[in-house]
């Protein structure tokens, strides 16, 4: 059905010569996704877990190429929203987002930036979800999320970037949430396809894989 895309082989080698063939889009996206520079933006509790513990020695964000946290928005392209956004901070957050380098990505971590979290009811000052102010690419739930969740969120974002923008259509981005299901497709179809793919991924046929390695498929 093609709703869930499988990753294709992006590199191809020419037999006999040391040349690698690839697509420019792939290379650009690959470089982008592995050198995300986050902005040091932590407003409250989540900042300790997201920016400090994840950047710390055990979880080590540097493994994923995203450890160069920048205090200035002009040098950053990833905004990790860690912590509650209140009404007074909202205009500043929008300014920070606008000042960031294009293409910019946003990961919203914690219940607060998703929905308002513990301050959802009876609070007169919090913003119920950061996506009321800026577009968000990946949501990481938790209060606070574990550092591992942020790493998963980061990997998800990297996947999105790799699949997403092309030179022909700049600005077009794959969204993590499918808001509208195309006509003629039911929810069950998607689930079935997902299950099939997951099963396919979890059962590895070694001989088949080895065969693939010798003879890479073309682009």
């Amino acid at each position: 059905m093609g709703l869930v895309k499988k990753e294709e082989y992006a590199f191809d080698t020419m037999p006999g010569v040391d040349v690698v063939l690839t697509k420019i889009d792939y290379v650009v996206n690959w470089a982008r996704s592995n050198s995300l520079w986050p902005l040091t933006f932590g407003t409250s509790c989540c900042a300790i877990e997201m920016l400090m513990a994840t950047g710390g020695p055990r979880h080590d964000l540097a493994r994923f190429g995203a450890e160069v946290t920048r205090p200035s928005p002009r040098q950053a392209d990833l905004l990790i929203l860690a912590g509650t956004i209140v009404k007074r901070m909202a205009p500043r957050l929008r300014t920070l987002y606008d000042q960031m380098a294009e293409p910019r990505y946003v990961i919203a971590t914690g219940a607060c930036t998703i929905s308002g979290g513990p301050f959802l009811y009876h609070s007169y000052s919090t913003i119920r979800g950061a996506d009321e102010i800026i577009p968000v690419d990946v949501y990481v739930p938790g209060c606070p999320p574990r550092p591992e969740s942020l790493l998963h969120g980061l990997l998800t974002l990297q996947k999105l970037i790799k699949e997403g923008q092309t030179i022909r259509k700049p600005g077009v981005r794959h969204k993590p949430v499918i808001s509208e299901i195309p006509e003629g497709v039911s929810r069950e179809d998607i689930t079935a396809e997902m299950v099939e793919l997951l099963e396919h991924d979890s059962v590895v046929n070694i001989e088949e894989t080895l065969g693939n390695l010798e003879r890479p498929t073309g682009i």
Binding site: G83, R88, F119, H122, S125, T126
Partner: protein
């Protein structure tokens, strides 16, 4: 007494004009709300003359989450989880402050075991809070290694706490009438192992940072505050004790089982950034001592006195209770009308009072010193704004 109310606009008007090319002119610079050295979204308006600070005006409200208002709609057990989010590095101690006040008001008797568990986990958390303070201070002064060392050891504390509590940061552990869960069977063993591990590491901390000439020069005789000023600004915790005032609630009004433990209150002599830094190192040593004395003697008993009652009714009246968190005295004031929710709840948070010390000690210094000062005050911004 009259109070002058001025707006920020009036205070940030430039008063002196340069009248020759060589003359200097005052100007204003915003530090924050997005600034890496303020540990969050604190905004300080600085009145500068060259690089010398003339005046510091803290501007608050960038993370005001109206916790006190939400408390007026929540039962006492729900309020406990909100206090986690105020000073998240001493969340257990914040839980304790609310629980203590409610227990005092509702006349809930506790078992020995509860008091022991509470004291031990609170001291563990004090250690991890000071580790973060130590590491972040190094980072603010330009050294990245302390941050890695501090977080390496903090992760091990959170592992121990996570095993019992199930959370890494926002613990929500101490409840009115006891603690949420009994301690994990491994708890005692792991805490002992950790203490054996951490004691030599603490000496390593000192080798790494305390003796470093750059750190010494950045901290010594910077931001000196005498005891009088500290008291008049309402500073508490390590900030007050560094100014030679031996005020520690754990000693003066022992709660929990601090009365049974033998420990010393660390105080500084000069009240500069260095003393505030060193008081924290010494407090980690004292916390280790407290834990060592208590860990073997946890008595048997219940960890929660009654069945967890969702609705605890507090008799009509006004109640105040306070505890010593890692950053100072957290006071809880409850106005009750005899219902299961408070009529009004007020938190006297330590960081709010510690913050205003910058207005007294930063003027006259350089901008770089202000970073050292805020690092040594160890501010947690959501605790200021609540």
């Amino acid at each position: 007494m009259s109070v002058n109310i001025t707006t920020l606009d009036e205070r940030t008007r430039v008063t002196s004009e340069a009248d020759s090319a060589l003359d200097t002119e005052e100007y204003f610079v915003n530090m924050g709300p997005q600034h890496p050295a303020t540990h969050g979204v604190l905004r300080m308006v600085l009145k500068l003359d060259g690089e010398t600070i003339k005046e510091v005006i803290p501007v608050l409200g960038y993370i005001h989450r109206s916790i006190e208002k939400i408390c007026e709609h929540s039962t006492y057990r729900q309020i406990v989880h909100l206090t986690d989010r105020m000073d998240y590095l001493s969340s257990i101690m914040n839980n304790w402050a609310v629980s203590l006040t409610v227990e005092k008001a509702a006349n809930i008797e506790l078992t020995e075991r509860i008091e022991y568990i509470r004291t031990i986990v609170a001291e563990l958390e004090r250690i991890h809070s000071h580790q973060v303070a130590w590491g972040v201070m190094g980072m603010d002064l330009g050294a990245f290694t302390p941050f890695l060392y501090g977080f390496r050891d903090r992760e091990l504390v959170t592992d121990i706490l996570e095993e019992t509590i199930g959370a890494r940061l926002t613990m929500n552990y101490i409840q009115p009438g006891g603690v949420m869960f009994d301690i994990h069977p491994n708890f005692v063993k792991k805490v002992k192992e950790y203490i054996a591990y951490f004691r030599p590491k603490l000496d390593e901390y000192e080798d790494l940072m305390s003796g470093n000439p750059i750190i010494q020069q950045r901290l010594r005789d910077v931001g000196t505050m005498d005891g009088e000023t500290a008291l008049s600004y309402g500073a508490t915790g390590p900030v007050l004790r560094a100014s030679r005032v031996p005020y520690d609630l754990r000693k003066i009004e022992p709660y929990g089982v601090y009365g049974k433990a033998d420990f010393n209150v660390a105080i500084g002599t000069a009240g500069d950034c260095w003393d505030r830094y060193y008081v924290r190192i010494e407090e980690m040593r004292q916390s280790i001592r407290i834990i060592e004395q208590l860990i073997d003697n946890i008595p048997e008993g219940k960890f929660m006195v009654k069945k967890p009652a969702v609705k605890i009714k507090v008799p009509e009246g006004r109640y105040y209770g306070h505890v010593e968190t890692a950053r100072g005295v957290l006071g809880v004031f409850i106005v009750s009308q005899g219902k299961d929710i408070p009529y009004r709840m007020y938190f006297r948070t330590p960081n709010f009072h510690n913050l205003w010390c910058t207005t007294a000690i930063a003027p006259g210094g350089r901008i770089g010193d202000l970073v050292a000062i805020t690092a040594s005050l160890d501010l947690v911004i959501p605790d200021i704004d609540r």
